[in-house]
Amino acid sequence: MYSHASESLIKQAREIQEPELQKFYSRLVKLLQGKELGHETVDSLQRLHLILSATKYTRTLPSELRTRLLSLLSSPVEQLQVLSSAVLREMAPLSGEELNYIQENVGQLNSQTAALLLSKAGTRADLSSVCAQLLRSLDNRPSEGSANSLMHVLPVLNSVLTHSPECLTEDHMTLLNKKLVDWLRYASIVQGGGASSGRFFTGPRSRQPVPIAELDGTVSGDFFTVLCVGQGFTEDQWMNVYSFSMLHHWLLTSHSASNGNTTAETDDRSEVDGSVVSMVSATSSSSRLLPPKERLREKAFQYCQRLIEQSDRKAQKKTDTELQKACLVEAVCILDCVCVEDASLVFRTFPCIKALFGRLSPDLSFARVLLPIAQFYLNHGEMAALDCESVWKLVLGQFPAVLFNDPFLAHELLRFLRLNLEKLQLRVPQYTHFFPNLLKFLAWDSPAVVDDFVDLLPSLVTPATAVELLHTLLDLPCLSATLVLQLRSTCLPISEPGGRGLLSLDAFRNPSFRGLFLFMLRAEAGSGDTIDRLSTLHDLLTEAADWPRVVQCAQTIPVLLHIYFNTIVTVADEKLLAHLILVMLERSCVLLNIPTYIKEIHRVFSCHLLRLCKLHPSLVVDQSHELLEFAGIPGNVYSKEEIYTHVVWVLGEYLSVSCDSRCSVRLITTCFETLEAVLFEITSSGSLPGAVCPAPRVITTLMSALAKLASRSHDLIPRVSLFLSKLRTVTRGGSVPWCSDEEDLVAIVTRGEELWSLLKAPGVAQSILTPSPHITTPQWHRDTNVAMPLQLRALTSLTHSQ
């Protein structure tokens, strides 16, 4: 599709030299001077566009060429309009002269010129003048000119509205509100002429006007909407389409912008009798008395109700069925919007929305339509006393479980959650219990939705579900594999011979392992933190460790764990944090065996173990039994080096009376003995040749920890000193079996010597290795020695110019 030829074209366009370029410009000017502008001109213009757009640096055109191009904007040939607008868009902004030229010569702004003016607008004033010009042309209907000439006005205005709503004045808004009402509600209900220009032929023997039809072929009995068809269309029917297409955005931006002025009036007028819901199109006579904005709201309401009714018809064409769905989404969104503006409309709206929900909820192919309905329920459900339970059960309970592999639904559902987080936490408290379901989106397509989960995860971290959530996050790659198997299992009833995933697929279908997989696939939290046979599950899914989907999922877990831990410290009490430390220790060896995954998780655990203990030092004494159990296993030095190092470090640092008064001498001694035993074992010469060496950092950390503990219980000092001097002796003899690198050995020995000499003066050792709190938590501003430099630095940075 993209060949070398195309690539070289782009390169040529970028690297064209100045002389050649000037020659090209002159040739083009000559061509444009001619009477007839034929194929060669068009091709040259096209090449000019390529040359200009291929580079990100703006080129300058000679002024004569610019003038010629400007004149093409009003050419009767569309191709020339298009090309000149495209070329000029790649150029420097239009000068004042050029803008005047356009004003005078282009007359009624055509679509291409409007696009040019918009894209080159340099200020809000420029945009305002474009708007003013277009709205003038709306007001003064042209007697001649092509019937399609007005259709671009609404899109242009909508575009300006997005960027700069204040470019439209009150009068403009009023005019537009009135026009929109006319086009939406009072467009022709007869079919236009057959010609594509939409002109209505009025010959003397013209046929009887044919009424418009619905999508299922029946004759339409009500006002024209986007879901009506005819052989041809009149201009106001086209404007009906354009008006509806921008209606939602118009209501959102323009009405919210000018809401302040008219709230007083609307309160009086919104005393509409909600119990009388007349036929959709019955124009209530009172509506003519409403100001334009409110009138538009009323007509929008009627239009949407009609669309909802029309969407129930069976369309003859597939594309129309798709359009009906899109119309439903739009209609519900607009109804939600008008109800937010005018709360009295809720009573007229909710029966229809409720009925729609009832009609669509059994059919999962309408899931994306049910999301705006859920938004309506969330916004107005309370006021209308609607039963919202079934909505949340569907949206949170069913959709993620069944439609996790629909990227569009995932995007929209997660967006819905993100935008309504506060309301959900208030009105849908069960939201946090559905995290196993919501995480299915992440497990299936991590790269696409991880960004959403970065925002959503904090809201899912609650003390009640914290432990289960941690287990679920750690096992997300397993969930990923399980979802793959679930889909494969439904698609392939017979197992493929020699196909991928054979073993795990068999396991998935095996009744004795059913429970494991069902736990993974659960929708709600609360049925247990994790399963006993987790390692069995990991074994069954061994071959899934290199499936791309599983690997992609595993790559996002560390980030989410960081977010999890950062959040949990703000909501958990010490008891829960203690439990989490245990989970970390326990799970450090129970993880799906994906190569870098385990290492990454260990790194995250280590980081947060440290943080937790720093925040709550008494946790170490609290959990000393489990920590010691972990630290006492020499195997952990090799298989979980990172975590092991940190466990030893926190034991050394926080197992002291100053951190927790429950710390007894006996505890310190027990800890010392445990660590001493491990250190002896890993530095013994009894290890086999070729065996893995312990990391030097583990050894130094063990030594430091022992020294710290000894400094708190001086009886232990002789034991440490003995070990350290033995170490010095052994290493003087040359290489040792437990350390292969000479530099590392030197570092270890140096550390040993430092500690040894420190411990010779127990008092000093204690104050250095077990410093009292006021040293470790300095308050610099109070310390007279430190405050002065700080003050000076602050003054300097304040007086320095930015």
């Binding site: 030829a5 195309s6 569309e78 607008a121 671009h152 955005h249 359009l323 989404v329």
Partner: protein
């Protein structure tokens, strides 16, 4: 509203170095957001244009990696198709949607819809409250027309040399970035105009 429409490369191609992404067509609708934002007040017009081109390139690269990851995860490799099989190519295309955070690169949060047809991606950048169902349908429609009218399944360079055709297509089906609710009759009428233009 749709902020921009792009056509760009999405997978390793022999003509490009690894990881490089070439934008073949880009159309940004509406005023330049840098003009109206506080932080970019002091930029010159050339710098603003450069900024816009860079934003477009960022989007293309994001979609490039999204398509790569999606194809890797699904294990599906796109099948080579020849001109004439446009409908099949479209049916076989990967599709997805991604979120661009506010500031990265557009001032507001955006939703990016993409269709990966073999080695090219067709991308729509939509504003937050846009009707994504409608956007999806419009994107498919635009892609189909581009594939057909510009013979993109072949090795020609028409997408570069006949970009005005895409401009006209956009002016009918996505005027100034406005998504339109077109039933089959309205769509037919517009497509007839487009076809008439392309025939010239």
């Amino acid at each position: 509203m749709v902020r921009c429409f792009l056509i760009h490369t999405v997978c390793p191609i022999s003509a490009l170095s690894a990881g490089e992404c070439r934008v073949l067509y880009s159309r940004v609708f509406g005023p330049d957001e840098a003009v109206l934002s506080e932080e970019h007040r002091e930029l010159s017009p050339e710098e603003r244009r450069l900024l816009q081109k860079e934003k477009v390139a960022v989007v293309a690269r994001q979609v490039h990696s999204a398509v790569t990851l999606s194809r890797e995860a699904s294990g599906r490799q796109p099948v080579e198709m020849v001109p004439g099989e446009e409908a099949l190519a479209l049916q076989d295309a990967d599709s997805g949607v991604a979120r661009l955070r506010a500031g990265d690169p557009f001032d507001q949060e955006m939703s990016v819809l993409w269709l990966g047809v073999q080695s090219l991606g067709f991308t729509l950048v939509c504003e937050p409250h846009e009707n994504l169902l409608l956007a999806e349908g419009t994107l498919r429609n635009l892609t189909r027309h581009c594939l057909e009218h510009l013979h993109m399944l072949g090795s020609g360079s028409e997408v570069l040399l006949k970009s005005s055709r895409i401009d006209v297509l956009l002016s009918r089906l996505l005027p100034h970035g406005q998504l339109l609710f077109l039933n089959h009759r309205f769509a037919q009428s517009l497509e007839k105009e487009v076809a008439a233009y392309m025939a010239k």
